[in-house]
């Protein structure tokens, strides 16, 4: 999949900020929002425009779990593995999704439809265990229901 990276979008984002190092994280967040991930050419582009070493930017990207260097699938499936969800069996939910999608945590399915992630607490503990697909939240996802939830998003 070779897709040309349009740097104009990144240009527009950088222009919104004053350009100090303290704007780096917001810029990266906007870039990720726009491109779905942080493409390498954009990383170098930011480095040049904001006058920050690429190594610094790379360091920041890899420190925070929010940033991705690889494109994500159409739907991001997040399984909450916070304490409350853990106590209510999120490990099993995670295992089941792994079996359904046949990808490891952090990876994307071959058809680019799903990216599978584990997150530590989305703050809806009373609805544990929680699964989030795209921006839809599903609470009390017990055994058997995982399949139903995922099915909604399969072709």
């Amino acid at each position: 999949m070779v897709k040309k990276i349009d740097l104009c979008v990144a240009e527009g984002i950088i222009k919104k900020y004053t350009g100090g190092v303290s704007d780096l994280i917001p810029v990266l967040q906007d870039v990720q929002e726009a491109y779905g991930y942080i493409p390498e050419p954009v990383l170098y582009f930011i480095a040049e425009r904001m006058n920050i070493y690429p190594s610094h930017i790379f360091g920041v990207i890899t420190f925070y779990s929010q940033f991705k260097l690889k494109p994500a699938g159409k739907y991001i499936v997040k399984v909450c593995v916070g304490t409350a969800c853990h106590v209510k069996g999120s490990e099993r939910v995670s295992k089941e999704i792994h079996e359904l999608l046949k990808v490891k945590v952090g990876d994307t399915t071959d058809d680019n439809r799903f990216t599978f992630e584990e997150v530590a607490c989305v703050g809806a503990c009373a609805q544990a265990p929680m699964v989030i697909v795209g921006s839809d939240e599903y609470g009390k996802v017990t055994h058997g229901e995982v399949k139903k939830v995922i099915k909604k998003y399969q072709k």
Binding site: S22, Y64, K88, G123
Partner: protein, 623 residues
Amino acid sequence: MTNKPKIILGMGTCGMAAGAKTLLEKVESHIREKKIDAEIVHVGCIGMCHEEPLLDIAMPNRCRVIYNKVKPEDVSKIIDSHVLKDKPSKEHALSQILPDNGANPYIGITYFEEMPFNRKQQRIVLKNCGFINPLYIDEYIARDGYEAAKKVLFSMKPEEIIDTVKRSGLRGRGGGGFPTGLKWEFCRKAAGDTKYLICNADEGDPGAFMDRSVLEGDPHSVLEGMIIAAYAIGANQGYIYVRAEYPLAVKHLKIAIDQAREKDFLGKNILGTGFDFDIDLKQGAGAFVCGEETALIASIEGERGMPRAKPPFPANKGLWGKPTNINNVETFANVPQIILKGADWYSGFGTEKSKGTKVFALTGKIKRPGLIEVPMGIPLKEIIFDIGGGVADGTKFKAVQTGGPSGGCIPAELIDTSVDYESLTAAGTMMGSGGMVVMDNANCMVEMARFFLNFSTEESCGKCVPCRIGTKRLLEILERIIAGKGRENDLDLLSRLGSTVKGASLCGLGQTAPNPVLSMMRYFKDEYEEHIKDKSCRTGACTALSRYIVNPDTCKMCGICVKGCPVEAIADGTKKAKKPALIDDEKCIRCGICFEKCPFGVIYTKGAKKAAHVKEGLSEVKV
């Protein structure tokens, strides 16, 4: 404010997860269809997560009625009866809220305040959550909002504010418990013209959602607390550092900040007093360690969020080297009330050293999970049993974990412990930010310790050796115990290594990471010894050390477990076979599907003594 009937929906993250979105669509289409003249109001979390999704109806001059666990198909019935005929549907109603304006109550519906869940609560921080629409500043103003800010700006000196907060006894609600007034005083007295104020909303403890609920349900209370703090310490710029994982909280904060600017509560020359203060939002990017103040500062500066050595403390040298004051969301939300009602009123709640109230997120194996606010010093027992209704499904209460991955557990024997900073520390745990996860018989204390350590290991920033390597080694020891390969001296090793990590780490993360395992070993030593000596887990949670058994006497031969088993390890168990199910321990992979699927609860787990079935290589852990 209109005089129309109001249909109120709890649209916090938890309500959404329970299906509030579908309800909203249903309500909208129904009132359109029937041409009902009603106003739909979105509110934040009222705390009763166990009753979600909630739909409330408030008729003009009548009490607001709460309907719980509303199904989409019941929406039209409830609305027709209540809004069109002013007859609340009693079969669906949960309670009614007694308002301050003397509206007419209905006969035969319990009062919200008298429900067991609410009776022992004291709402100061949560007074508006679920009661106002967080998207309209006017609703906040109508409930004394921004009165405290006006009071300090027009009639109080910064020193007076600091003195009031000091006398109120308010301590940091993020977990540290440092006296807030004293912290403000340090920053006020620090040399320098430029000072910063930061609100720490990086609520990262898994199992805690207090700050999220306040930010979603009552964002202005936090902004007002910040305005007062900024005026007290002399800061003109503030930041709210909020988790990006809380999209709804971010949205509500953005709207609230814009509205506060419009009304002249933020910006240049606030209300003509000559005081300048504005707030910017910074979104965290997913790093637990950023809850630590110096790491949070590094993150705002655009660096990797790694902690710095203290001293110098942020009060002297913080953001960009300037004096900086950091408080947590809940701490700020307390401030306007303290200013309005006075230090004496606030310190009337709580114990000698822990004043006021604390918000807790009550979750786990509890009948009524939710967001609660209780006076400090309340016995733990009352929280678990009176408010929370005890553990769910008739299992036995085992322990409660407070303070998340930095805290510890309180076992059933210590259920009478008073919930305040000192008593919790004495019990080997901590107040923490307010997560309270209840555990029952099915939760293994070795496995829980592994869970927390796994979290701390992943979130360790890697800056200092004791934390980076120490937590990893602790985790490996626990993993081998769980896999049935525990060694004779492992408990001793865990406690020695644990205390080294605590003593030698740079920041709060490392200093507290061994707490869960140390506290669980303290109270559940026999369980740890069983894992190591008998290679057995009594709860069935450590799959390598337990086995599933069907009770042949009560098996109904429905065949559900047979169908569900992914490896065909269950024989018979069907009406056709006329024999109860039997699990072949050799074939069983201990996935637990049969256990979960059995509708009659006849499958149980048993610690596998000496674990004959643990095959080499099956759960190999490199040591």
